[in-house]
Protein backbone atom coordinates (compact mmCIF):
# COMPACT_ATOMS: atom_id res chain seq x y z
CA UNK A 1 0.00 0.00 0.00
CA UNK A 2 2.67 2.44 1.15
CA UNK A 3 4.98 1.95 -1.81
CA UNK A 4 2.02 2.13 -4.13
CA UNK A 5 1.06 5.54 -2.74
CA UNK A 6 4.66 6.74 -2.94
CA UNK A 7 4.96 5.70 -6.54
CA UNK A 8 1.78 7.40 -7.68
CA UNK A 9 2.78 10.55 -5.82
CA UNK A 10 6.20 10.75 -7.47
CA UNK A 11 4.70 10.03 -10.88
CA UNK A 12 2.28 12.85 -10.24
CA UNK A 13 5.02 15.36 -9.37
CA UNK A 14 7.05 14.48 -12.48
CA UNK A 15 3.96 15.02 -14.60
CA UNK A 16 3.59 18.38 -12.89
CA UNK A 17 7.21 19.38 -13.45
CA UNK A 18 7.51 18.41 -17.10
CA UNK A 19 5.73 21.41 -18.67
CA UNK A 20 7.86 23.74 -16.57
CA UNK A 21 11.05 21.89 -17.47
CA UNK A 22 10.39 22.33 -21.17
CA UNK A 23 9.59 26.03 -20.79
CA UNK A 24 12.72 26.63 -18.73
CA UNK A 25 14.87 24.73 -21.26
CA UNK A 26 13.62 26.98 -24.06
CA UNK A 27 14.41 30.07 -21.99
CA UNK A 28 17.91 28.76 -21.23
CA UNK A 29 18.48 27.90 -24.88
CA UNK A 30 17.42 31.40 -25.84
CA UNK A 31 19.67 32.91 -23.18
CA UNK A 32 22.81 31.01 -24.19
CA UNK A 33 22.18 31.44 -27.91
CA UNK A 34 22.10 35.20 -27.52
CA UNK A 35 24.98 35.26 -25.08
CA UNK A 36 27.33 33.38 -27.45
CA UNK A 37 26.36 35.56 -30.40
CA UNK A 38 24.22 33.06 -32.25
CA UNK A 39 21.34 35.58 -32.34
CA UNK A 40 21.63 39.09 -33.72
CA UNK A 41 20.82 41.65 -31.03
CA UNK A 42 18.66 43.64 -33.50
CA UNK A 43 16.54 40.62 -34.45
CA UNK A 44 16.20 38.79 -31.16
CA UNK A 45 17.78 40.21 -28.02
CA UNK A 46 18.29 37.80 -25.14
CA UNK A 47 15.91 37.39 -22.22
CA UNK A 48 18.17 39.47 -20.02
CA UNK A 49 17.84 42.40 -22.45
CA UNK A 50 14.06 42.09 -22.26
CA UNK A 51 14.20 42.02 -18.48
CA UNK A 52 16.45 45.05 -18.55
CA UNK A 53 13.99 46.93 -20.78
CA UNK A 54 11.24 45.98 -18.35
CA UNK A 55 13.29 47.22 -15.41
CA UNK A 56 13.92 50.57 -17.06
CA UNK A 57 10.27 51.04 -17.99
CA UNK A 58 9.28 50.12 -14.45
CA UNK A 59 11.71 52.65 -13.00
CA UNK A 60 10.51 55.59 -15.08
CA UNK A 61 6.89 54.57 -14.48
CA UNK A 62 5.93 54.12 -18.13
CA UNK A 63 5.44 50.38 -17.61
CA UNK A 64 2.84 50.83 -14.89
CA UNK A 65 1.02 53.57 -16.80
CA UNK A 66 0.83 51.34 -19.86
CA UNK A 67 -0.38 48.33 -17.88
CA UNK A 68 -2.86 50.47 -15.98
CA UNK A 69 -4.34 52.05 -19.12
CA UNK A 70 -4.69 48.73 -20.94
CA UNK A 71 -6.06 46.85 -17.93
CA UNK A 72 -8.62 49.60 -17.34
CA UNK A 73 -9.89 49.36 -20.92
CA UNK A 74 -9.90 45.57 -20.80
CA UNK A 75 -11.84 45.49 -17.53
CA UNK A 76 -14.50 48.05 -18.46
CA UNK A 77 -14.97 46.59 -21.94
CA UNK A 78 -15.15 43.02 -20.65
CA UNK A 79 -17.63 43.92 -17.95
CA UNK A 80 -19.99 45.64 -20.39
CA UNK A 81 -19.58 42.88 -22.96
CA UNK A 82 -20.19 40.26 -20.28
CA UNK A 83 -23.40 41.88 -19.06
CA UNK A 84 -24.82 42.29 -22.56
CA UNK A 85 -23.86 38.76 -23.56
CA UNK A 86 -25.41 37.11 -20.52
CA UNK A 87 -28.61 39.16 -20.49
CA UNK A 88 -29.21 38.81 -24.22
CA UNK A 89 -28.01 35.20 -24.25
CA UNK A 90 -30.45 34.25 -21.49
CA UNK A 91 -33.24 36.21 -23.17
CA UNK A 92 -32.68 34.53 -26.52
CA UNK A 93 -32.15 31.10 -24.96
CA UNK A 94 -35.22 31.33 -22.75
CA UNK A 95 -37.88 32.70 -25.03
CA UNK A 96 -38.77 32.05 -28.63
CA UNK A 97 -39.41 35.77 -29.17
CA UNK A 98 -36.04 36.63 -27.67
CA UNK A 99 -34.40 34.20 -30.06
CA UNK A 100 -36.20 35.70 -33.05
CA UNK A 101 -35.19 39.21 -32.08
CA UNK A 102 -31.58 38.70 -31.05
CA UNK A 103 -30.14 35.51 -32.39
CA UNK A 104 -30.28 36.15 -36.13
CA UNK A 105 -28.59 39.58 -36.02
CA UNK A 106 -25.82 38.30 -33.76
CA UNK A 107 -25.28 35.26 -35.97
CA UNK A 108 -24.96 37.65 -38.90
CA UNK A 109 -22.51 40.10 -37.33
CA UNK A 110 -20.37 37.39 -35.76
CA UNK A 111 -18.73 36.78 -39.11
CA UNK A 112 -17.35 40.33 -39.31
CA UNK A 113 -13.69 40.25 -38.27
CA UNK A 114 -13.11 42.76 -35.52
CA UNK A 115 -10.09 44.24 -37.27
CA UNK A 116 -12.45 45.47 -39.97
CA UNK A 117 -14.25 47.50 -37.32
CA UNK A 118 -11.18 49.34 -36.07
CA UNK A 119 -11.20 52.04 -38.77
CA UNK A 120 -14.96 52.43 -38.48
CA UNK A 121 -14.88 52.86 -34.72
CA UNK A 122 -12.04 55.37 -35.03
CA UNK A 123 -14.06 57.37 -37.53
CA UNK A 124 -17.07 57.30 -35.24
CA UNK A 125 -15.48 57.81 -31.86
CA UNK A 126 -12.11 59.39 -32.66
CA UNK A 127 -9.05 58.39 -30.70
CA UNK A 128 -10.71 58.63 -27.29
CA UNK A 129 -11.34 55.76 -24.92
CA UNK A 130 -14.75 54.88 -26.43
CA UNK A 131 -13.45 53.26 -29.62
CA UNK A 132 -11.06 50.98 -27.74
CA UNK A 133 -13.50 50.03 -25.02
CA UNK A 134 -16.25 49.35 -27.55
CA UNK A 135 -13.96 47.08 -29.52
CA UNK A 136 -13.33 45.06 -26.37
CA UNK A 137 -17.08 44.99 -25.68
CA UNK A 138 -17.59 43.64 -29.17
CA UNK A 139 -14.87 41.02 -28.89
CA UNK A 140 -16.14 39.80 -25.52
CA UNK A 141 -19.81 39.92 -26.41
CA UNK A 142 -19.87 37.76 -29.53
CA UNK A 143 -18.27 34.51 -28.31
CA UNK A 144 -19.79 34.84 -24.87
CA UNK A 145 -23.26 35.35 -26.28
CA UNK A 146 -22.89 32.32 -28.56
CA UNK A 147 -21.74 30.12 -25.69
CA UNK A 148 -24.43 31.36 -23.31
CA UNK A 149 -27.13 30.80 -25.90
CA UNK A 150 -26.01 27.31 -26.83
CA UNK A 151 -25.39 26.47 -23.16
CA UNK A 152 -28.95 27.40 -22.32
CA UNK A 153 -30.30 25.45 -25.24
CA UNK A 154 -28.46 22.39 -23.92
CA UNK A 155 -29.92 22.59 -20.43
CA UNK A 156 -32.12 19.57 -19.78
CA UNK A 157 -35.71 20.71 -20.51
CA UNK A 158 -36.97 18.21 -17.98
CA UNK A 159 -35.46 20.35 -15.25
CA UNK A 160 -37.42 23.32 -16.55
CA UNK A 161 -40.54 21.17 -16.32
CA UNK A 162 -39.86 20.46 -12.66
CA UNK A 163 -39.37 24.17 -12.03
CA UNK A 164 -42.74 24.82 -13.66
CA UNK A 165 -44.45 22.15 -11.55
CA UNK A 166 -43.13 23.87 -8.43
CA UNK A 167 -44.23 27.24 -9.77
CA UNK A 168 -40.95 29.07 -10.12
CA UNK A 169 -41.34 32.43 -11.86
CA UNK A 170 -39.90 32.91 -15.37
CA UNK A 171 -37.10 35.01 -13.86
CA UNK A 172 -36.29 32.29 -11.34
CA UNK A 173 -36.36 29.68 -14.07
CA UNK A 174 -33.97 31.65 -16.26
CA UNK A 175 -31.50 32.30 -13.46
CA UNK A 176 -31.75 29.26 -11.24
CA UNK A 177 -32.24 26.62 -13.91
CA UNK A 178 -31.16 27.92 -17.31
CA UNK A 179 -28.25 30.25 -16.57
CA UNK A 180 -26.92 27.99 -13.86
CA UNK A 181 -27.15 24.98 -16.14
CA UNK A 182 -25.40 26.92 -18.88
CA UNK A 183 -22.55 27.99 -16.59
CA UNK A 184 -20.00 25.42 -17.80
CA UNK A 185 -20.51 26.65 -21.33
CA UNK A 186 -20.63 30.32 -20.25
CA UNK A 187 -17.28 29.97 -18.50
CA UNK A 188 -15.66 28.36 -21.53
CA UNK A 189 -17.01 31.28 -23.54
CA UNK A 190 -15.72 33.73 -20.95
CA UNK A 191 -12.20 32.36 -21.10
CA UNK A 192 -12.18 32.51 -24.86
CA UNK A 193 -13.76 35.93 -25.12
CA UNK A 194 -11.45 37.55 -22.57
CA UNK A 195 -8.50 36.26 -24.57
CA UNK A 196 -10.02 37.76 -27.67
CA UNK A 197 -10.67 40.99 -25.76
CA UNK A 198 -6.95 41.38 -25.07
CA UNK A 199 -6.11 40.65 -28.70
CA UNK A 200 -8.51 43.29 -29.95
CA UNK A 201 -7.10 45.75 -27.49
CA UNK A 202 -3.54 45.34 -28.81
CA UNK A 203 -4.70 46.06 -32.32
CA UNK A 204 -6.79 49.04 -31.28
CA UNK A 205 -4.07 50.49 -29.08
CA UNK A 206 -1.31 50.08 -31.61
CA UNK A 207 -3.38 51.76 -34.33
CA UNK A 208 -4.28 54.75 -32.26
CA UNK A 209 -3.49 55.42 -28.65
CA UNK A 210 -1.33 57.70 -26.60
CA UNK A 211 -0.94 55.18 -23.84
CA UNK A 212 -1.37 51.51 -23.09
CA UNK A 213 0.69 48.47 -23.94
CA UNK A 214 -0.32 48.61 -27.60
CA UNK A 215 0.89 52.21 -27.87
CA UNK A 216 4.16 51.24 -26.23
CA UNK A 217 4.45 48.40 -28.72
CA UNK A 218 3.92 50.50 -31.83
CA UNK A 219 6.29 53.17 -30.54
CA UNK A 220 8.99 50.57 -29.93
CA UNK A 221 8.45 49.24 -33.43
CA UNK A 222 8.97 52.74 -34.89
CA UNK A 223 12.25 53.15 -33.00
CA UNK A 224 13.28 49.56 -33.72
CA UNK A 225 13.55 48.73 -30.01
CA UNK A 226 13.21 44.99 -30.35
CA UNK A 227 13.72 44.47 -26.62
CA UNK A 228 10.71 46.67 -25.80
CA UNK A 229 8.63 44.92 -28.46
CA UNK A 230 9.46 41.62 -26.78
CA UNK A 231 8.68 43.15 -23.41
CA UNK A 232 5.21 44.18 -24.62
CA UNK A 233 4.59 40.71 -26.03
CA UNK A 234 5.59 39.19 -22.70
CA UNK A 235 3.28 41.60 -20.88
CA UNK A 236 0.34 40.46 -22.98
CA UNK A 237 1.27 36.87 -22.29
CA UNK A 238 1.41 37.52 -18.55
CA UNK A 239 -1.88 39.44 -18.53
CA UNK A 240 -3.48 36.69 -20.59
CA UNK A 241 -2.27 34.06 -18.14
CA UNK A 242 -3.58 36.06 -15.19
CA UNK A 243 -6.96 36.42 -16.89
CA UNK A 244 -7.04 32.71 -17.55
CA UNK A 245 -6.15 31.99 -13.94
CA UNK A 246 -8.97 34.22 -12.70
CA UNK A 247 -11.51 32.43 -14.90
CA UNK A 248 -10.19 29.11 -13.71
CA UNK A 249 -10.62 30.16 -10.09
CA UNK A 250 -14.15 31.21 -10.95
CA UNK A 251 -14.73 27.80 -12.52
CA UNK A 252 -13.44 25.98 -9.45
CA UNK A 253 -15.80 27.97 -7.31
CA UNK A 254 -18.91 27.93 -9.51
CA UNK A 255 -18.63 24.41 -10.85
CA UNK A 256 -18.07 22.64 -7.55
CA UNK A 257 -21.08 20.44 -8.24
CA UNK A 258 -19.22 19.07 -11.22
CA UNK A 259 -16.01 18.30 -9.37
CA UNK A 260 -18.22 16.37 -6.98
CA UNK A 261 -19.33 14.43 -9.99
CA UNK A 262 -15.80 13.78 -11.24
CA UNK A 263 -14.70 12.62 -7.80
CA UNK A 264 -17.35 9.91 -7.87
Amino acid sequence: MMSNGERSRSAFSIAQLLPWLSSISILLLWYFASRYGLLQEQILPGPNAVLHAGWEAAEDGSLWRAIGASTFRACIGSLIGFLFAVVIGVGAGFSRIGELIFDKPVQMIRSIPFTALVPLFILWFGIGEEAKILLVVWAVFIPLYLNTFSGIRNVDRRLVEVAKVYKLSPLEISLRVLLHGALPSVLVGLRYSLGLGWAVLIVAESVNAKNGIGAMLSMARQYAQTDVVLLCISLYAILGLITDLLVRLLEDRLLQWRTGYIAQ
Binding site: K164, L168, R176, G181, W257, Q264
Partner: protein, 243 residues
Protein backbone atom coordinates in the same frame (compact mmCIF):
# COMPACT_ATOMS: atom_id res chain seq x y z
CA UNK B 1 -66.43 13.13 -0.58
CA UNK B 2 -65.08 15.90 -2.71
CA UNK B 3 -62.51 15.03 -5.29
CA UNK B 4 -59.03 16.51 -5.02
CA UNK B 5 -58.92 16.48 -8.78
CA UNK B 6 -61.49 15.72 -11.42
CA UNK B 7 -61.27 15.59 -15.19
CA UNK B 8 -64.09 15.06 -17.68
CA UNK B 9 -64.08 14.29 -21.34
CA UNK B 10 -60.41 15.13 -21.76
CA UNK B 11 -59.12 14.86 -25.31
CA UNK B 12 -55.64 15.47 -26.56
CA UNK B 13 -54.06 14.94 -29.98
CA UNK B 14 -50.53 15.39 -31.21
CA UNK B 15 -50.20 16.09 -34.92
CA UNK B 16 -53.56 14.53 -35.79
CA UNK B 17 -52.96 11.44 -33.68
CA UNK B 18 -55.57 11.26 -30.94
CA UNK B 19 -53.75 10.20 -27.77
CA UNK B 20 -56.59 10.75 -25.31
CA UNK B 21 -60.12 10.24 -26.60
CA UNK B 22 -62.33 11.41 -23.79
CA UNK B 23 -61.01 10.48 -20.36
CA UNK B 24 -62.98 10.86 -17.12
CA UNK B 25 -61.21 10.52 -13.81
CA UNK B 26 -61.73 11.67 -10.29
CA UNK B 27 -59.47 11.08 -7.30
CA UNK B 28 -60.37 11.76 -3.66
CA UNK B 29 -57.93 12.92 -1.03
CA UNK B 30 -56.20 9.97 0.53
CA UNK B 31 -56.98 7.74 -2.42
CA UNK B 32 -54.19 6.00 -4.34
CA UNK B 33 -54.96 5.41 -8.02
CA UNK B 34 -52.62 3.53 -10.33
CA UNK B 35 -52.79 3.73 -14.09
CA UNK B 36 -51.51 0.88 -16.22
CA UNK B 37 -51.10 0.99 -19.94
CA UNK B 38 -48.82 -0.07 -22.72
CA UNK B 39 -46.35 2.44 -24.09
CA UNK B 40 -48.09 4.92 -26.33
CA UNK B 41 -51.42 4.36 -24.61
CA UNK B 42 -51.51 7.99 -23.43
CA UNK B 43 -50.75 7.43 -19.76
CA UNK B 44 -47.93 9.98 -19.62
CA UNK B 45 -50.03 12.52 -21.49
CA UNK B 46 -52.76 12.11 -18.88
CA UNK B 47 -50.26 12.65 -16.08
CA UNK B 48 -48.86 15.75 -17.76
CA UNK B 49 -52.36 17.17 -18.05
CA UNK B 50 -52.99 16.53 -14.35
CA UNK B 51 -49.64 18.20 -13.59
CA UNK B 52 -50.76 21.13 -15.75
CA UNK B 53 -47.66 20.74 -17.88
CA UNK B 54 -49.95 20.19 -20.84
CA UNK B 55 -53.41 21.44 -21.80
CA UNK B 56 -56.19 19.23 -23.11
CA UNK B 57 -57.65 20.14 -26.51
CA UNK B 58 -61.09 19.86 -24.96
CA UNK B 59 -62.59 18.69 -21.70
CA UNK B 60 -62.52 19.84 -18.14
CA UNK B 61 -59.71 19.73 -15.58
CA UNK B 62 -60.78 20.87 -12.16
CA UNK B 63 -59.38 20.73 -8.67
CA UNK B 64 -56.31 21.49 -6.65
CA UNK B 65 -53.31 23.29 -8.03
CA UNK B 66 -51.24 22.22 -5.07
CA UNK B 67 -49.60 19.46 -7.04
CA UNK B 68 -46.27 17.69 -6.79
CA UNK B 69 -44.68 15.29 -9.25
CA UNK B 70 -42.09 12.57 -8.82
CA UNK B 71 -40.70 11.56 -12.20
CA UNK B 72 -38.90 8.40 -13.19
CA UNK B 73 -35.62 10.31 -13.07
CA UNK B 74 -35.08 12.31 -9.89
CA UNK B 75 -34.63 15.54 -11.89
CA UNK B 76 -32.68 17.35 -9.17
CA UNK B 77 -30.81 20.48 -10.17
CA UNK B 78 -27.23 19.16 -10.25
CA UNK B 79 -25.83 22.56 -9.24
CA UNK B 80 -27.84 22.85 -6.03
CA UNK B 81 -27.32 20.87 -2.88
CA UNK B 82 -29.99 18.43 -1.75
CA UNK B 83 -31.61 20.76 0.80
CA UNK B 84 -31.86 23.58 -1.68
CA UNK B 85 -33.38 21.26 -4.28
CA UNK B 86 -35.99 20.12 -1.78
CA UNK B 87 -36.81 23.74 -0.94
CA UNK B 88 -37.55 24.61 -4.56
CA UNK B 89 -40.51 26.95 -4.76
CA UNK B 90 -40.81 27.51 -1.00
CA UNK B 91 -40.23 30.89 0.56
CA UNK B 92 -37.13 31.20 2.66
CA UNK B 93 -39.14 31.45 5.87
CA UNK B 94 -41.07 28.27 5.15
CA UNK B 95 -38.12 26.32 3.97
CA UNK B 96 -35.77 25.67 6.86
CA UNK B 97 -37.75 23.52 9.28
CA UNK B 98 -39.94 21.93 6.64
CA UNK B 99 -37.02 20.81 4.50
CA UNK B 100 -35.43 19.19 7.50
CA UNK B 101 -38.64 17.35 8.36
CA UNK B 102 -39.15 16.19 4.79
CA UNK B 103 -35.58 14.88 4.57
CA UNK B 104 -36.06 13.14 7.91
CA UNK B 105 -39.21 11.49 6.66
CA UNK B 106 -37.50 10.00 3.62
CA UNK B 107 -34.44 9.07 5.69
CA UNK B 108 -32.05 11.41 3.92
CA UNK B 109 -31.31 14.04 6.57
CA UNK B 110 -27.63 13.06 6.69
CA UNK B 111 -27.28 13.94 2.99
CA UNK B 112 -28.85 17.42 3.11
CA UNK B 113 -25.63 19.12 2.07
CA UNK B 114 -24.64 16.67 -0.69
CA UNK B 115 -24.44 17.42 -4.40
CA UNK B 116 -27.05 15.42 -6.34
CA UNK B 117 -24.36 13.78 -8.48
CA UNK B 118 -23.00 12.04 -5.39
CA UNK B 119 -26.32 10.41 -4.51
CA UNK B 120 -27.22 6.83 -5.38
CA UNK B 121 -30.29 6.25 -7.53
CA UNK B 122 -32.41 5.40 -4.49
CA UNK B 123 -31.16 8.43 -2.55
CA UNK B 124 -31.85 10.75 -5.47
CA UNK B 125 -35.39 9.43 -5.73
CA UNK B 126 -35.85 9.94 -1.99
CA UNK B 127 -34.72 13.53 -2.40
CA UNK B 128 -37.19 13.94 -5.23
CA UNK B 129 -39.91 12.50 -2.97
CA UNK B 130 -38.94 14.90 -0.18
CA UNK B 131 -39.14 17.77 -2.65
CA UNK B 132 -42.67 16.65 -3.51
CA UNK B 133 -43.86 16.16 0.09
CA UNK B 134 -42.33 19.27 1.60
CA UNK B 135 -45.20 21.37 0.22
CA UNK B 136 -47.94 19.05 1.55
CA UNK B 137 -49.43 18.51 -1.90
CA UNK B 138 -53.13 17.74 -2.29
CA UNK B 139 -52.34 15.81 -5.43
CA UNK B 140 -49.20 13.71 -5.75
CA UNK B 141 -48.35 12.50 -9.25
CA UNK B 142 -45.91 9.62 -9.66
CA UNK B 143 -44.60 8.97 -13.16
CA UNK B 144 -43.07 5.48 -13.05
CA UNK B 145 -41.16 6.64 -9.99
CA UNK B 146 -39.50 3.33 -9.22
CA UNK B 147 -38.82 2.24 -12.78
CA UNK B 148 -35.11 3.07 -12.71
CA UNK B 149 -34.38 1.51 -9.32
CA UNK B 150 -32.98 -1.92 -8.57
CA UNK B 151 -35.37 -4.52 -7.15
CA UNK B 152 -34.30 -4.21 -3.50
CA UNK B 153 -34.37 -0.43 -3.48
CA UNK B 154 -37.77 -0.58 -5.12
CA UNK B 155 -39.19 -2.67 -2.27
CA UNK B 156 -37.90 -0.19 0.31
CA UNK B 157 -39.33 2.67 -1.68
CA UNK B 158 -42.71 0.92 -1.85
CA UNK B 159 -42.80 0.68 1.94
CA UNK B 160 -41.76 4.31 2.23
CA UNK B 161 -44.41 5.57 -0.16
CA UNK B 162 -47.17 3.59 1.60
CA UNK B 163 -46.11 5.03 4.95
CA UNK B 164 -45.85 8.60 3.64
CA UNK B 165 -49.19 8.47 1.84
CA UNK B 166 -50.86 7.14 4.99
CA UNK B 167 -49.46 10.04 6.95
CA UNK B 168 -50.03 12.91 4.50
CA UNK B 169 -53.09 11.54 2.69
CA UNK B 170 -52.74 13.31 -0.66
CA UNK B 171 -54.68 12.12 -3.65
CA UNK B 172 -52.14 9.97 -5.50
CA UNK B 173 -52.04 9.20 -9.18
CA UNK B 174 -49.31 6.80 -10.23
CA UNK B 175 -48.42 5.80 -13.77
CA UNK B 176 -46.64 2.46 -13.95
CA UNK B 177 -46.33 -0.59 -16.11
CA UNK B 178 -45.67 -2.93 -13.23
CA UNK B 179 -48.90 -4.79 -12.43
CA UNK B 180 -47.72 -6.10 -9.06
CA UNK B 181 -46.63 -2.64 -8.02
CA UNK B 182 -50.05 -1.25 -8.95
CA UNK B 183 -51.84 -3.95 -6.91
CA UNK B 184 -49.49 -3.57 -3.97
CA UNK B 185 -49.76 0.20 -3.64
CA UNK B 186 -53.13 1.37 -4.84
CA UNK B 187 -56.79 1.41 -3.88
CA UNK B 188 -57.91 1.46 -7.48
CA UNK B 189 -56.17 0.34 -10.66
CA UNK B 190 -57.14 1.76 -14.04
CA UNK B 191 -56.08 0.45 -17.41
CA UNK B 192 -55.81 2.86 -20.31
CA UNK B 193 -55.93 1.55 -23.83
CA UNK B 194 -56.08 3.50 -27.09
CA UNK B 195 -56.79 6.77 -25.30
CA UNK B 196 -59.68 5.53 -23.14
CA UNK B 197 -59.88 4.18 -19.64
CA UNK B 198 -60.74 0.63 -20.40
CA UNK B 199 -61.01 -1.09 -17.08
CA UNK B 200 -61.20 -0.22 -13.41
CA UNK B 201 -60.42 -2.54 -10.53
CA UNK B 202 -60.81 -1.88 -6.82
CA UNK B 203 -58.19 -3.60 -4.73
CA UNK B 204 -59.61 -5.37 -1.67
CA UNK B 205 -57.29 -5.41 1.29
CA UNK B 206 -57.17 -7.49 4.45
CA UNK B 207 -57.07 -5.81 7.84
CA UNK B 208 -53.24 -5.64 7.80
CA UNK B 209 -53.26 -3.84 4.46
CA UNK B 210 -52.08 -6.81 2.42
CA UNK B 211 -53.96 -8.31 -0.51
CA UNK B 212 -55.43 -11.82 -0.16
CA UNK B 213 -53.42 -14.19 -2.40
CA UNK B 214 -56.39 -15.49 -4.38
CA UNK B 215 -57.70 -11.96 -4.93
CA UNK B 216 -54.24 -10.87 -6.02
CA UNK B 217 -54.01 -13.69 -8.56
CA UNK B 218 -57.41 -12.87 -9.96
CA UNK B 219 -56.61 -9.16 -10.15
CA UNK B 220 -53.33 -9.88 -11.92
CA UNK B 221 -55.04 -12.09 -14.48
CA UNK B 222 -57.74 -9.48 -15.06
CA UNK B 223 -55.21 -6.71 -15.57
CA UNK B 224 -53.03 -8.80 -17.88
CA UNK B 225 -56.11 -9.49 -19.92
CA UNK B 226 -57.03 -5.80 -20.02
CA UNK B 227 -53.52 -4.99 -21.17
CA UNK B 228 -54.00 -7.41 -24.04
CA UNK B 229 -51.47 -9.93 -22.80
CA UNK B 230 -52.93 -13.32 -23.65
CA UNK B 231 -51.31 -15.67 -21.24
CA UNK B 232 -51.75 -18.82 -23.27
CA UNK B 233 -50.35 -17.14 -26.35
CA UNK B 234 -47.39 -15.99 -24.34
CA UNK B 235 -46.20 -19.51 -23.62
CA UNK B 236 -46.65 -20.60 -27.21
CA UNK B 237 -44.33 -19.53 -30.04
CA UNK B 238 -46.49 -16.88 -31.70
CA UNK B 239 -44.67 -16.78 -35.00
CA UNK B 240 -45.17 -20.49 -35.63
CA UNK B 241 -48.89 -20.35 -35.06
CA UNK B 242 -49.13 -17.33 -37.34
CA UNK B 243 -47.54 -19.15 -40.24
Amino acid sequence: MTAAVEIRGVRRSFADVAVLKGVDLSIRRGEFVALLGRSGSGKSTLLRILARLDQPDSGLVDGTENTAVVFQEARLLPWERVASNVAMGLTRAEARARVRNALDEVGLSHRWNAWPATLSGGEAQRASLARALVREPHLLLLDEPFGALDALTRITMHELIIELCDRHRPAVFMVTHDIDEAIKLSDRVLVIDQGRIDRELRIKRLADGSVAPDFGDKARADLLDALGVNRTARSRPVLLSAS
